[in-house]
């Protein structure tokens, strides 16, 4: 499988002009697929887009949706920042230091495989039913995953560039910023994207187990009523926020920070 052959200029110009159009087509395709499936399935479990829209509208007008979404986003954002910072630091350190890695590897495997439930319950019981415990529990669940990904990245670091930095007496900060982090960018991107989603999934559990608001709280309520339309309405509201963040913030930033990569096609 050769990487895609460079295409001639015409088509790529079109696609460069209209990336928004492609995204729109993609979303339309998804909607169509869903609509058709739901119509054929004709099940209470897979409501059609209008049913979900109605549920969305109902909770959006009452302001409930916005409130719960805001609470969840706040938790997700806080836990994300904490988990990425701590996880990256530990991951890079372990990836660069064989001895430390050998010692802490079993710990990592343990924390990686602790069920979310255990961490969350312990956090609530020790630190009380408060926001800090909730966010901390989410972060603790995510940190080992970040560590594992960043550690692989640190292990695959280019030795040649590191030697260059040593010879030219780069300071630690300079090496980190200009030599190490750019190499870790793809790992960081992977850890963040799958990270956000994991964090949000854990946030749902955290909210189920001890918060009185948030999307997770609402989704679990609606699950008891088997109101799938409302569950999907909340889910899609969150997905929509993620899509906006992805297309308005993450992708432009990524395009900028990887502009040095030789283009394919």
């Amino acid at each position: 499988m050769a990487l895609e052959a460079p295409s001639l200029s015409a088509p790529s110009v079109i696609s460069r002009l209209a990336p928004g159009l492609v995204t729109l087509a993609s979303l339309a395709g998804l909607l169509a697929l869903w609509w058709i499936t739901a119509t054929f399935a004709d099940s209470r479990v897979l409501p059609t887009p209008p049913q979900v829209a109605a549920a969305f509208w109902r909770d959006a007008v009452s302001g409930e949706m916005e409130f719960h979404l805001a609470m969840t986003l706040m938790r997700v954002a806080a836990a994300f920042v904490i988990a990425m910072v701590i996880g990256s630091a530990i991951g890079i350190a372990l990836g660069m230091n064989r001895e430390a890695n050998r010692f802490f590897d079993p710990w990592l495997i343990l924390f990686l495989n602790l069920p979310a439930l255990v961490v969350i319950v312990l956090a609530y019981i020790w630190f009380g039913l408060n926001e800090a415990a909730a966010i901390g529990a989410i972060a603790v669940n995510k940190i080992p995953n970040v560590v594992v990904t960043m550690r692989e990245g640190a292990r695959a670091l280019d030795r040649d560039l590191d030697e260059m930095a040593r010879v030219y007496r780069f300071s630690t900060v300079k090496t980190l910023r200009h030599v190490v982090l750019p190499q870790l960018q793809p790992y960081f991107a992977a850890a963040s994207r799958s990270g956000i989603s994991l964090i949000w999934k854990i946030a749902l559990v955290v909210e189920l187990l001890g918060r009185s608001n948030g999307v997770g709280f609402q989704i679990n309520l609606y699950f008891q009523l088997f109101d799938v339309a409302s569950i999907l309405a909340y889910t899609l509201a969150f997905v929509a926020v993620m899509l906006i963040i992805e297309f308005a913030l993450v992708q432009p930033f990524e395009a900028y920070s990887t502009r040095w990569r030789p283009k394919r096609a």
């Binding site: 009380g128 039913l129 909210e207 189920l208 009185s212 679990n220 309520l221 699950f223 088997f226």
Partner: protein, 306 residues
């Protein structure tokens, strides 16, 4: 003076929340001198975590759990709240009429293999019909809403579910094969036993004996109100999320059926009996280290408070 605050953790869409909502609407809490703070949760176990973590002062749970926690050193105590527990439901058209007809079926059980009702029903089936339900059928344990849905779709032949799920099924053409409290009575209880109740710490009761007393008074008044007034139910409608009038009515009737009528002392006697039966079936796995109902499980103002 200043009203004392009582924080109660409840399931947002649960029946307890209806009752507390009615209490607050009718101002019964204020009348009793209480400042009630209802903390809603989304999951069955969340309120238990909240009580452990000190997030709330009171929750609703069952005596089996309380006894077990006491045996392990916790200081929880219990006041009966409702005799409605759960029922084994079958479709209206089902050929199953007694537990004896359940053989080779697929049975859904909410609450898991250690669920009290499930153990009692198994014991009863063995006693009356000589069959081992768990061995003679395919048992599917699962989340209550999922099992409800599966029963509706017909993938399950029978489902043992918590009472409001059972009530909703009833509104959709299911009938009760046997309820948890029926099974308990057939196994020797002298009347319907309230197996769920208000749970709080001895410590809290000791520090705030008046709060508990006031709350129980307000609760009794609320139950009285809901038992007699249909109008009070109308205001609860949005909370109950009933799909239709029929569901609403069944939920209301089943709630009223569940209001405990007997004295706590009678209840306690039956509970001790049931506890022994359960300890025999479920073993240490179910009841923990204590072979008999642990003393103090039932709240007794003086004993617990001092």
């Amino acid at each position: 003076g200043e009203a004392a605050t009582l924080r109660i953790g409840v399931l947002k869409f649960g029946t307890v929340n209806w009752e507390l909502d009615a209490m607050q609407r009718a101002g019964l809490d204020k009348q009793a001198g209480l400042d009630l703070s209802v903390v809603p949760f989304a999951g069955e176990t969340a309120s238990a975590v909240a009580l452990q973590g000190g997030g709330v002062d009171m929750i609703v749970s069952d005596w089996l759990w309380v006894s077990r926690q006491r045996a392990e050193g916790a200081d929880y105590t219990f006041v009966p709240y409702s005799t409605s527990v759960g029922s084994l439901m079958v479709p209206e058209t089902s050929a199953v009429n007694t537990l004896g007809d359940l053989k080779g079926k697929t049975i859904g059980v909410a609450g898991g293999p250690l669920d009290k009702n499930w153990l009692l029903i198994q014991a009863l089936a063995k006693k009356d019909f000589g069959i081992d339900l768990a061995a003679a059928n395919t048992i599917v344990y699962g989340a209550p809403p999922l099992l409800t849905e599966k029963a509706r779709e017909g993938e399950l032949d029978a489902v043992l579910n918590f009472w409001h799920y059972a009530a909703r099924l009833e509104a959709q053409g299911f009938r009760t094969l046997i309820s948890g409290s029926d099974a308990a009575m057939k196994m020797g209880a002298s009347g319907p036993v309230a197996s769920i109740g208000w749970v709080f710490r001895d410590r809290f009761a000791k520090d705030h004996p008046d709060v508990i007393a006031d709350f129980l008074k307000a609760d009794a008044a609320t139950k009285q109100l809901l038992a007699t007034s249909d109008a009070a139910w109308e205001t609860l409608k949005p909370l109950m999320k009933a799909k239709n009038e029929k569901t609403f009515e069944i939920l209301r009737e089943r709630y009223r059926d569940g209001i405990p009528q007997r004295s706590p002392a009678d209840e306690q006697k039956d509970t001790a009996k049931l506890y022994t039966i359960l300890a025999n079936i479920g073993g240490a796995k179910l009841v923990g280290p204590a072979p008999a109902l642990v003393k103090g499980t039932y709240y007794d103002g003086k004993a617990n408070g001092s």
